[in-house]
């Protein structure tokens, strides 16, 4: 954003009159957007906090889109012989619901939290590659647009989010929905791959002095494991998508059985990515509650090394279990047995975490804030989902469960009860830090309870529906097949559909909470929860440069240990200072020269170029050429641009009054 010069005299650095910095000279053809205000400030930013917020907004938007898609599904299934959606529309709906939720909501929302908080938690001023960070964001936005363009251009993808071959080929999926899906996902995949490299290097290289790996907060650790999962699993789905793309666009026969192709090739490639992907989805939520639970139990996390190592173990073993998604595909008994055992094994490190969280709460003085409620909710609901997952690992029983609603129940318990609850816990926990205001706790309570009730009402019955024999991905069920008795398919489907609308209301309550807080929310104290980790050693919201002085770390839970000292007599921790005073002290000792990377056009331009190149696969060589040219040009522009705009691009507006070039923080 800017180069911040501090006058030598002791001046309280508060956000009074922002010095507007305007470029006075041009560098080459275009000036760097260093002075950007308003929407341009956001469009060209490389600040991890702004990028994090934009990820969050985009993700929330797609959460609602995906949610609406789900409600339409539940409306269709509420009654027998539903005629609300045609079979074709239904196929598009469940495909896009899942694709949207996984790739356009869950991953970007985790990216939002990771982008905003990881640098803060490790005491850094930004990520390792700020422009690449912006590129990831804009690629994600482009990918989301391409994926959803299909709705308006002949119908969305309709082969299921796992897009099994040969159903996904041109013969059985003739509309161009799958084409947009393939290209859109490739683009989003590149975004995540770049992001993963960025965050790994950030964690390795940009930790504050004294922060060894085993002093990092658990959220940071979980995000690190996720990035390793992404960096090594994304190329595999890239291959799958390329093969599918070449089949659909250029007539290759990779999944054409008549040419000798084996449909299982797709399944292997997809699930070698797809299984690590589900750990990509859940580990950030695990990381969030590993911060929330200790804070609101007023106890340190129980067994920190176990939580860290089990996270790494889950990541590692997660690469070895993918074929448990293929138990009914005809792999043969040897393969099935091997993967069955591996899948049972992976339940162990997950169980370790659950016990560590429970033991964190045991004996603590629990503060039932909304964030804490969601965290406890995760522990309970994820356990339910995990248990049904264990039943899936038993191959004989999964042969009955496969392709029924029992599976749908399992993954919604772990994804909604697990991941979504974790994210909501994070919202309520970190909202004061990001926006300087507290979300309303009463509305939060309504949000939580409606979500618990709605979620269990929607997905609980699906266990029963599955065991009663309702298959997945069937656009209709009939009276004749509903079964005997009162508690048959008809009953449970109605319950589930009602539950889904209660869920929708709970999300609405959250949005109302956000809106009300935005308009007139309570100003947040600097450290409202008496938290433990470094991101709280900042103003709310943090300044552009995060920390006035890079902290030197001596402890795990460094922030906590600066506020509390051990009383050797009673062996309890007693407070010696509070968060606000600590931040004031940092301000008084601020670094004299802080240098931040400047905004840039190139990430956005390059993202547009890459997307155009992708669309060129669908729309022909001229479009590809334009895309390729844009990519080439913007790559050169990027490489030739130093990370900080030269001094001549800034104008010092206030000569001599001592305050120069300080840029107003967010808010």
């Amino acid at each position: 954003m800017a180069i911040i010069e501090r006058p030598s005299s002791d001046v309280a650095v508060t956000a009074t009159a922002p010095a507007t910095v305007t470029p006075t000279s041009s560098q080459g053809a275009l000036k760097r957007p260093v002075s950007a205000r308003g929407w341009r400030e956001w469009l060209f930013t490389v600040d991890h906090k702004k990028i994090g917020i934009m990820y969050g907004v985009v993700a929330m938007f797609f959460f609602i889109v995906g949610g609406v898609e789900a409600l339409l599904i539940r409306l269709q299934l509420a009654a027998p012989e539903g005629r609300f959606l045609s079979a074709d529309q239904y196929n598009q709906m469940f495909t896009m619901h899942a694709t949207t939720m996984v790739f356009l909501f869950a991953m970007p929302m985790a990216a939002a939290f990771a982008n905003y908080f990881l640098p803060l938690q490790i005491g850094a001023r930004d990520v390792a590659f700020p422009r690449l960070n912006a590129l990831s964001l804009w690629l994600l936005v482009s990918g989301g647009i391409v994926l959803n363009l299909a709705w308006f251009l002949g119908g969305a993808a309709d082969g299921g989010w796992f897009m099994y071959a040969p159903n996904s080929g041109p013969v059985f999926s003739p509309s161009n929905g799958v084409d947009f899906w393939t290209v859109g996902l490739q683009i989003a995949g590149i975004a995540s791959l770049i992001g993963s490299i960025n965050l790994i290097v950030t964690v390795l290289n940009m930790r504050a002095p004294g922060m060894t790996l085993m002093k990092m907060p658990v959220f940071t650790w979980m995000i690190l494991v996720v990035q390793f999962l992404l960096v090594f699993s994304l190329p595999v789905i890239t291959v799958a998508l390329v093969l599918l793309m070449f089949q659909r666009e250029y007539g290759a026969t990779f999944f054409d059985v008549s040419a000798g192709a084996d449909p299982l090739l797709w399944q292997h490639l997809f699930w070698i990515f797809g299984h690590p992907e589900v750990y990509v989805l859940i580990l950030p939520a695990f990381g969030i509650i590993s911060e929330v639970l200790p804070t609101f139990a007023r106890k340190p996390l129980f067994g920190y090394p176990f939580v860290v190592f089990s996270g790494a173990a889950i990541g590692f073993v997660g690469f070895g279990v993918w074929a448990h998604h293929m138990f009914a595909a005809g792999l043969g008994p040897v393969s099935v047995a091997v993967f069955s055992i591996a899948t049972m094994a992976i339940a162990i490190p997950t169980g370790v975490k659950i016990f560590n969280w429970l033991l964190t709460m045991w004996g603590g003085k629990i503060w039932y804030s909304t964030a804490m409620k969601f965290a406890i909710g995760l522990v309970m609901l994820f356990t339910v989902g995990g248990l049904s997952g264990v039943t899936h690992s038993v191959a004989p029983s999964t042969t009955q469960q496969t392709d029924t609603y029992y599976i749908v129940a399992h993954f919604h318990y772990v994804l909604f009860g697990g991941m979504v609850f974790g994210l909501f816990s994070g919202f309520y926990y970190w909202w004061p830090k990001v926006f300087g205001r507290m979300l309303n706790e009463r509305l939060g309570s309504w949000n939580f309870w409606l979500m618990v009730i709605g979620m269990n009402m929607t997905f609980g019955p699906m266990h029963i529906l599955g065991l009663q024999g309702q298959p997945r991905r069937m656009y209709q069920w009939t009276e004749a097949r509903a079964g005997e008795g009162f508690f048959n398919l008809a009953f449970w489907n109605v319950v589930s559909s009602i539950g889904s609308f209660i869920l929708a209301v709970s999300v609405l309550v959250f949005l109302v909470n956000v809106w009300k807080t935005w308009r007139a929310g309570k100003q947040a104290p600097l450290d409202p929860w008496d938290a433990r980790t470094l991101e709280w050693l900042t103003t709310s919201p943090p300044k552009a440069h995060n920390f006035d002085r890079i902290p030197v770390v001596h402890h795990l839970d460094e922030f906590f240990h600066r506020k509390y000292e051990e009383d050797t007599a009673t062996h309890t921790m007693r407070p010696v200072t509070d968060g606000a005073s600590l931040v004031e002290e940092e301000i008084r000792n601020a670094d004299a020269n802080i240098h931040l990377p400047s905004s840039s056009y190139w990430p956005l331009v390059l993202a547009v170029g890459i997307s155009t190149l992708g669309l060129g696969v669908l729309y022909g060589v001229p479009v590809m050429v334009i895309g390729a040219a844009t990519v080439l040009l913007s790559s050169f522009g990027w490489v030739l641009e130093p990370s900080v705009a030269p001094e001549t691009d800034f104008e010092d507006p206030s000569h001599g009054d001592g305050h120069t070039k300080e840029v107003v923080p967010l808010g």
Partner: protein, 107 residues
């Protein structure tokens, strides 16, 4: 921290001073060329049961030599090796297992 100290500290972490002279690299290149010639000779000479094992060994030898010497991984910080070889190991694992389920190694 003045820049001079920073640079020496950084270099101490980063890499030892160049072990290989240009002549050393040329020697490695000649060895690689010789192995390549041996590989190509399998096209002309019947290696019998040694065909597969020797080709695989030669392929791996060339691979490791380029990575260790030309890419300098042998002399650099172990973190780089960890990052690269983890990717390689994972690739070998998942793809060999996947091919195995296709009974690829039984033909």
């Amino acid at each position: 921290m003045d820049t001079a100290t920073a640079e020496t500290q950084g270099e101490a972490h980063d890499e030892k001073h160049e072990h290989m002279s240009d002549a050393g690299y040329i020697r490695i290149a000649l060895i690689l060329a010789a192995i390549t010639a041996l590989e190509v000779s399998t096209y002309y000479i019947d290696f019998g049961p040694f065909f597969m094992p020797s080709l695989m060994i030669m392929m791996v030898a060339k691979f490791v030599m380029v990575v260790s010497y030309f890419m300098h991984l042998k002399f650099d910080n172990k973190v780089f090796s960890f990052l690269f070889y983890t990717g390689l190991a994972l690739a070998l694992f998942v793809y060999i297992v996947a091919l195995a389920t296709f009974k690829f190694f039984l033909q």
